[in-house]
């Protein structure tokens, strides 16, 4: 067998085998993975919209959001996946809103790459819990180094104003976009 | 007056006041004269006498071997006592002819040219210079006849007589210019003639106004010009001097003749004059004895071969504990380990310092202050070179131009870490030479 033919045969064969094996593994694992992902999504949605029992994916223009319903089937809130830039990189959030978008029912930081121990503390419950029942009208605000006074205010993580401000900005921007299409 | 100068350099304390006003005295003849057979750059001489021979003042006792070599002569009449290895200012034991003077004063000079000077042709002048064993008296002791016969491809158009004497403490050249201006100028003319050069410059540092005046006066009617340079070390180094006076750069690894210049010390000019006019070989020279550890600093006309210990006695001996004995100036001179070494042709000064005059601290790592960089007249990076040498990267040292260093010592003078930069550089040069020699084999 000439070397060239051998080369062609071997590499093509190996590539094919690899494709074949992987597609098999994929077929086995993909249901599990999808279930995993879905589970995560569900968890975060139910977290930010208390009382929700089921949800429905909706799309308006290019905005995806989830309409949440309780057992009775009435809409208890809206879960909005949003993202934007933080101090270091992208921050992804799930924001829970009342159906009229006037108040936040909760937020969950899904992904972030801020400095651990600093901007990273936006993932801590202490920070996230502040957003419960915060008014979005006219806009969410942050204060530094002091307790919030108004019901639109949250307190920024000390030493990580930029990250905190980013979270607030991302939320405000996306609520506005959503309310403009709803 | 315009002061000629160069970039960078340093200003060490000059300390010339110790010796500059002391007229040249004749030194006495010692009991023993030691004439090493190597007193110049190049091949050593071959002894021309045997033990027991009687010699006369001015008699050749060591023959030149090869072109780059210079004969040596007996400075006194006397008897050859021994021919054996003896201490030498270069730090090794070197074969020397040891003569016991007999005080007869018998002379065996060469034929004096006297009145014939003006008609003399360059070739016979050159042979006089050769036979007189003249070497550069500025320190390097390069055989003068070699310097004065440049190869055909290198036309010379300027002769610089170097009277800068930028080394601190020393005043031999200064006194020479004050006391023998005419002989000196005559010598310069002769060298000019040998070289076929019209353009002759005498360069003097501005801290010798009296010498400038004297020379200016003496040269008033000739073609020789006197140029005054700023008082800055190392103004007298030939490459630097040529740049300052003529704005020509001697190429790296090259010689002044590559830019059409010959540089000679004032003492060399005087020696040429005496050799050609009077037939006197190079058997004595002016030496400054100075330093705080010497009782009476002064300038002496010394027979070559006189052991330093005798000279010190004439200068009243030492005071206090001498800490360092240096042949030459404090910036470039060589430290000696004993007072038994003889004065040789290249000895311009004997400097004996007390402990408090020099500082010998332990050296520290380089802090990259760049003082050395700002002082190197050659624009090297002495700090980097010293680090390279410390790390023993000899090849790298060559790339950083170690061979261009003139070892002037400016860098080590200013270094706040007291790094022995020059020693590092010398070590690197030596190592590179060794490596080159080995590669050739």
């Amino acid at each position: 067998m000439s070397n060239s033919v051998k080369m062609i045969l071997i590499l093509t064969l190996i590539a094919c085998i690899s494709g074949g094996v992987l597609s098999l593994v994929y077929m086995i694992s993909s249901p599990l993975i999808e279930a995993n992902m879905l589970d995560e999504q569900r968890k975060s949605i139910f977290l930010v919209v208390p009382g929700a029992e089921s949800y429905e994916e909706k799309m308006k223009e290019d905005i995806t959001y989830f309409e949440c319903k309780d057992t009775s089937g009435s809409t208890v809130g809206i879960a909005l996946p949003v993202q934007g830039n933080g101090y270091q990189g992208v921050i992804k959030l799930m924001v829970g809103l009342t159906p009229d978008l006037s108040r936040i029912t909760g937020i969950k930081v899904l992904e972030q790459v801020e400095t651990p121990g600093l901007g990273g503390r936006i993932s801590e419950d202490k920070f996230q819990d502040q957003f419960k029942d915060v008014s979005t009208k006219p806009a969410v605000e942050y204060v530094k180094n002091q307790e919030p006074e108004k019901d639109t205010e949250i307190r920024a993580v000390t030493g990580a104003t930029i990250s905190s401000r980013s979270v607030v900005a991302i939320i405000n921007k996306n609520i506005q976009r959503l309310s403009s299409v709803l | 007056m315009k002061l000629f100068t160069f970039k960078q350099g340093v200003h060490p304390p000059y300390k010339k006041e110790l010796s500059k006003d002391k007229p040249i005295q004749k030194a006495g003849i010692p009991e023993k004269i030691v004439i090493p057979l190597v007193q110049h750059i190049g091949a050593p001489c071959k002894p021309d006498v045997v033990v027991g021979d009687a010699v006369k003042e001015g008699q050749m006792i060591g023959k030149a071997r090869g072109f780059v070599s210079a004969p040596v002569h007996s400075p006194v009449s006397g008897k050859v006592k021994r021919i054996e290895k003896a201490p030498h200012p270069l730090g090794q034991d070197i074969l020397a002819v040891i003569i016991q003077p007999n005080g007869n004063g018998e002379m065996a000079y060469m034929e004096p040219m006297g009145e014939k000077i003006n008609k003399l042709d360059p070739t016979s002048m050159l042979s006089h210079i050769l036979n007189a064993g003249i070497v550069g008296l500025g320190g390097a002791a390069f055989p003068a006849h070699v310097k004065f016969s440049p190869p055909r491809g290198k036309p010379i158009n300027t002769l610089i007589i170097n009277g800068c004497e930028c080394e601190p403490y020393l005043a031999a050249d200064h006194r020479l210019m004050l006391e023998h201006p005419d002989d000196l100028l005559l010598g310069a003319h002769m060298i000019g003639k040998v070289l076929g050069v019209k353009n002759i410059i005498i360069a003097i540092e501005s801290n010798k106004p009296d010498a400038i005046k004297t020379i200016d006066h003496a040269a008033a009617h000739g073609e020789i010009v006197c140029m005054v340079t700023e008082t800055k070390y190392p103004q007298g180094a030939e490459k630097v001097l040529i740049k300052a006076l003529l704005n020509r750069e001697v190429p790296s690894g090259g010689l002044p003749m590559d830019v059409g210049v010959v540089v000679s010390n004032v003492g060399t000019a005087l020696a040429v004059c005496e050799a050609v006019r009077d037939g006197k070989p190079l058997i004595e020279r002016v030496v400054t004895i100075t330093g705080n550890a010497v009782k009476y600093s002064g300038n002496y006309l010394v027979k070559i071969g006189t052991p330093v210990i005798n000279l010190i006695e004439q200068a009243g001996g030492t005071t206090g504990t001498p800490g360092k004995f240096i042949m030459g100036g404090p910036m470039m001179g060589i430290a000696q380990s004993s007072f038994d070494v003889p004065v040789i042709k290249g000895t311009s000064g004997i400097l004996i310092l007390k402990k408090e005059d020099y500082m010998e601290e332990e050296h520290r790592p380089c802090i990259k202050c760049s003082f050395c960089v700002q002082s190197c007249p050659i624009s090297l990076l002495p700090s980097t070179l010293s680090l390279i040498a410390e790390a023993k990267k000899w090849g790298l040292a060559e790339k950083y131009g170690v061979n261009d260093c003139i070892e002037c010592g400016s860098c080590a003078y200013v270094c706040p870490s007291k790094r022995p930069i020059v020693q590092f550089i010398k070590t690197a040069k030596l190592k590179l030479q060794e490596i080159k020699a080995r590669e050739k084999k």
């Binding site: - | 390097a140 002791a141 190869p151 491809g153 690894g253 090259g254 590559d258 003139i406």
Partner: protein, 153 residues
């Protein structure tokens, strides 16, 4: 980047014209890789070197390649094609807009970009050839070697 040419070569000046000099050098190991010079035989070659100092025929000199060559070659070899790539992309975009080529997404400009990238090796190839013949490629006389005596200092 600005070191003195590492591979200083010793050679003899055979001709001088203006600020250029032809220098004959021995071919050695370090020259094997380099094709900057015209070889006159297997053991000797002639290099045209720039000089900033007067040299005369018969003089022995040291020549070296002007520093920065390596870096410059790296730019030519690696950066030029990338510029080609980007130009190709915008060119492709322009073409597709101009001729209303309807290909989904950026496939068309991307392909043009890749084609441009490979095309940009043509000038490099030419440059390479030229450099092999054009021996003036930044060779300089860096030193001359005094024939007779060593430095007295």
């Amino acid at each position: 980047m600005f070191i003195k040419g590492i591979s200083g070569e010793e050679g003899e000046v055979v001709a001088v014209h203006g600020n250029k000099a032809a220098v004959k050098i021995k071919a050695n190991k370090s020259c094997k890789k380099c094709h900057l010079c015209k070889r006159i035989s297997s053991t000797e070659m002639i290099v045209d070197a720039f000089t900033e100092r007067p040299v005369s025929k018969g003089e022995r000199v040291v020549i070296a390649v002007r520093p920065g060559t390596i870096v410059k070659s790296a730019v030519i070899l690696y950066i030029l094609p990338l510029i080609g790539l980007i130009i190709g992309y915008y060119f492709g975009k322009f073409i597709s807009a101009f001729f209303h080529i309807r290909v989904k997404g950026e496939l068309f400009p991307a392909c043009i970009a890749l084609i441009f990238l490979f095309l940009s090796f043509i000038p490099i190839h030419i440059y390479d050839r030229k450099k092999q013949n054009d021996s003036r490629f930044r060779v300089f006389i860096t030193d001359n070697i005094p024939k007779n005596i060593s430095n007295p200092d």
